[in-house]
């Protein structure tokens, strides 16, 4: 029982990071109908910026802020520099270009910084607090959860309560009509990329201190798991990203704990196939009609 609680807590803490990253995927999907395969690589680039800034200033928070800025800048560059020119007649073009961006960014990082892991310190203690003798969340886990909740709440407010959010949603759902109404859809698309890339960068930044350290491949598995999360939840659904993130995080934790680490990727595959066979658009798919 204790062990179950412990594994659940661990799964939730990691699931929150998956959910954040998946949310970033959902944001771009909604805005541009592109699954941003390059998001992991973009997030790692931003995390390198954060690493450098933290090393230079000695402040974790300056690093965090710079990761958000760097993420947004990258989002701008990738959108305006590459994605905007993607042929619109093929739904595959965006995916393929994104794969190209991954290859470019990761190899550029490898050439610039080499492959070694650069350990990143967490801003809070990572030792779990004992509750009734059971180690549950560490202060850092709590920090991660709080950040995840705050970011999601802020995004929800942005999208539902502000005119920018209204324009972002309208541009995503009906770009042509929005333009006829004077909405600068192209700018909204770029803002969507910047927002998503910043959120993705934040997720990677939160993940790295719990792992071996920063390397050009730090976000590879994060992307795979978060993509699973987004697909399980439904690419159109931010709520799906949140719920999917927790499901996948807890599932991986339980499988690793009870069946072994080796089985985890198989469990993810099985989960993915099972969900999609029952609901081909993910658990929270709005409707079948809106497809790429």
């Amino acid at each position: 029982m204790d062990r179950l609680l412990f594994l659940l807590a661990t799964g939730i803490a990691r699931g929150a990071i998956f959910a954040l990253f998946a949310l970033a995927l959902v944001l771009i999907w909604r805005a541009a109908r592109i699954v941003n395969f390059s998001q992991g690589a973009m997030a790692v680039v931003a995390t390198y910026v954060a690493f450098a800034v933290t090393a230079f200033t000695g402040s974790y928070w300056a690093g965090l802020a710079s990761a958000l800025v760097a993420g947004a800048v990258l989002g701008y560059v990738v959108d305006r520099g590459v994605m905007r020119f993607a042929p619109h007649d093929s739904p595959l073009a965006g995916v393929i270009i994104a794969i190209g961006v991954v290859m470019v960014l990761q190899s550029a990082l490898g050439i610039a910084f080499g492959q070694q892991y650069r350990p990143m310190a967490a801003p809070f203690d990572q030792s779990p607090i004992l509750i009734g003798g059971v180690p549950v969340f560490s202060p850092y886990d709590v920090f991660v959860l709080v950040v995840a909740v705050v970011v999601m709440a802020a995004l929800a407010l942005l999208f539902t309560r502000t005119s920018l959010g209204l324009q972002l949603r309208a541009s995503a759902f009906a770009p042509e009509v929005s333009r006829l109404l004077g909405v600068r859809v192209s700018r909204m698309l770029t803002i969507g990329w910047m927002l998503a890339a910043a959120v993705g960068a934040l997720a990677a930044l939160l993940l790295v201190p719990t792992e071996l350290g920063l390397s050009p491949h730090s976000a590879d598995m994060l992307f795979v798991y978060a993509f699973t999360v987004a697909v399980v939840g439904g690419l159109d659904s931010p709520v799906g990203a949140l719920v999917g993130g927790l499901i996948v995080g807890v599932a991986i934790s339980l499988v690793t704990g009870y069946l072994g680490a080796t089985v985890a990727p198989i469990a993810v595959l099985v989960l993915l196939v099972a969900v999609l066979l029952v609901r081909p658009g993910g658990i929270f798919s709005a409707r079948e009609a809106r497809v790429a």
Partner: protein
């Protein structure tokens, strides 16, 4: 090059042609006149296809004599990759299904080959019998996995399918670790080595023999795929890609077409994996990574989606480019540290940049940019038409077209 000939030209017309063919000769009871006409064009097409295949294979086999053993090994790799990229190109280019998991399907073929070959070796079977049975097992295994995956794929669209295939290739090492008894875990399986047949032993080296076998296998796979591609089935695949609803309304069973395409593509990939296993005498999960899967996609895209010649050119590029870059950086007198960082990374950088540039500026790939001579010949040919349209003009994603 009739490998390149296409029945139908631009994507938009594919649905229309199916409409015509569905009423005339497609799924329903065909009118006899139409079926006669079809039989004769099919016959002509087949003859020409086989002729081309034979000539090209003979050329490739002849070419092995000009190469040293290492180039012959590279040629064998190209041939093995060609099996897989040809299948993948058919899948992506014709049905619009994006698979990021073809490396896993190749691995299935490789394991099928290795397990069968080892069992046969233990049973005392060797030579051609062992090779043939092991290849059959490889094709069967990859076909089965492809069928299962295709059944799921038929229900899924674009990114969802990409997600499942991505998870498949990620799960491959886990599968081999869990079943390490049969699959050898991380180290994979090793097989006994097939020497040059005694009759040829004095003429050719083993690398050359391996290249022959690989070329032969690729020739068979690609000829079959070309046949499918230019036949009624290819037409139906295009129709499903362009407009699934329209295709359905015209009697094309979209689900079946997709499952069929996925299965065929998986078998082709499996053949590639089996050939690779034959050439290298081993198969292991580390060789079939996500990065390799993406590299196959790179090959198909930069070669030119949907085109067999493009798949071949793409395979050549992914084999030769890393070697070329390595040779170049090796020749430059760079600091050791920089050389180390460039090695491995630079080819990936170039591949990524190529992928972006080709998709943005050159959507028909290398194949589409070939000199006019080839396209001229195609224009004269009656059964051929305009170059392949890699990008199906489907109901485009809603996206603003400009600033």
């Amino acid at each position: 090059m009739s490998v390149e000939s296409e029945l139908s030209g631009r994507g938009a017309s594919a649905a229309d042609s199916v409409r015509a063919s569905a009423t005339g000769m497609g799924v329903g009871t065909p009118s006899s006149a139409a079926s006669v006409a079809r039989a004769s064009t099919t016959g002509r097409r087949r003859t020409r296809l086989l002729g081309t295949a034979l000539v090209l294979t003979a050329l490739a086999i002849g070419g092995t004599f000009l190469l040293d053993p290492y180039r012959n090994y590279q040629l064998a790799l190209v041939a093995a990759y060609f099996c897989a990229t040809a299948g993948l190109s058919l899948l992506i280019g014709l049905t619009g299904q994006l698979s990021l998991g073809h490396a896993a399907l190749m691995a299935v073929g490789g394991y099928g080959y290795a397990i069968t070959a080892n069992a046969l070796t233990d049973a005392g079977v060797d030579g051609v019998a062992r090779f043939a049975l092991a290849i059959l097992a490889a094709l069967g295994a990859s076909g089965l996995v492809g069928l299962l995956l295709g059944l799921a794929a038929a229900r899924l669209r674009g990114p969802y399918l990409a997600g499942v295939t991505l998870a498949l290739v990620i799960a491959l090492p886990a599968v081999t670790a869990v079943f390490s008894g049969a699959l050898g875990g991380d180290q994979g399986l090793q097989i006994a080595y097939d020497d040059v047949p005694p009759a040829l032993a004095t003429i050719i080296a083993v690398e050359q023999w391996q290249a022959w076998v690989a070329i032969g296998a690729a020739a068979v796979v690609v000829t079959v795929l070309s046949g499918i591609r230019s036949g009624v089935l290819g037409l139906r695949m295009r129709a499903v890609r362009d407009d699934e609803v329209a295709a359905r309304l015209n009697g094309v069973r979209a689900g079946r077409v997709k499952v069929f395409a996925f299965t065929v593509s998986a078998v082709a990939a499996g053949a590639g994996g089996a050939v690779l296993c034959f050439v290298t005498q081993s198969v292991s999960p580390g060789a079939y990574t996500l990065a390799f899967s993406l590299l196959l996609v790179v090959a198909v895209v930069i070669g030119g989606l949907g085109s067999m010649l493009g798949a071949l050119l793409g395979s050549v590029v992914i084999v030769l480019l890393p070697w070329l870059i390595g040779t170049l950086t090796g020749a430059m007198d760079l600091p050791a540290d920089l050389t180390q960082r460039l090695s491995g990374n630079l080819p990936v950088l170039v591949f990524g940049a190529l992928l972006i540039v080709v998709t943005l500026l050159w959507p028909a790939g290398i194949r589409g940019a070939l000199p006019a001579r080839l396209s001229l010949r195609r224009r004269v040919s009656p059964a051929a038409s305009s170059p392949p349209t890699p990008a199906p003009p489907t109901t485009a994603p809603e996206q603003p077209t400009q600033e």
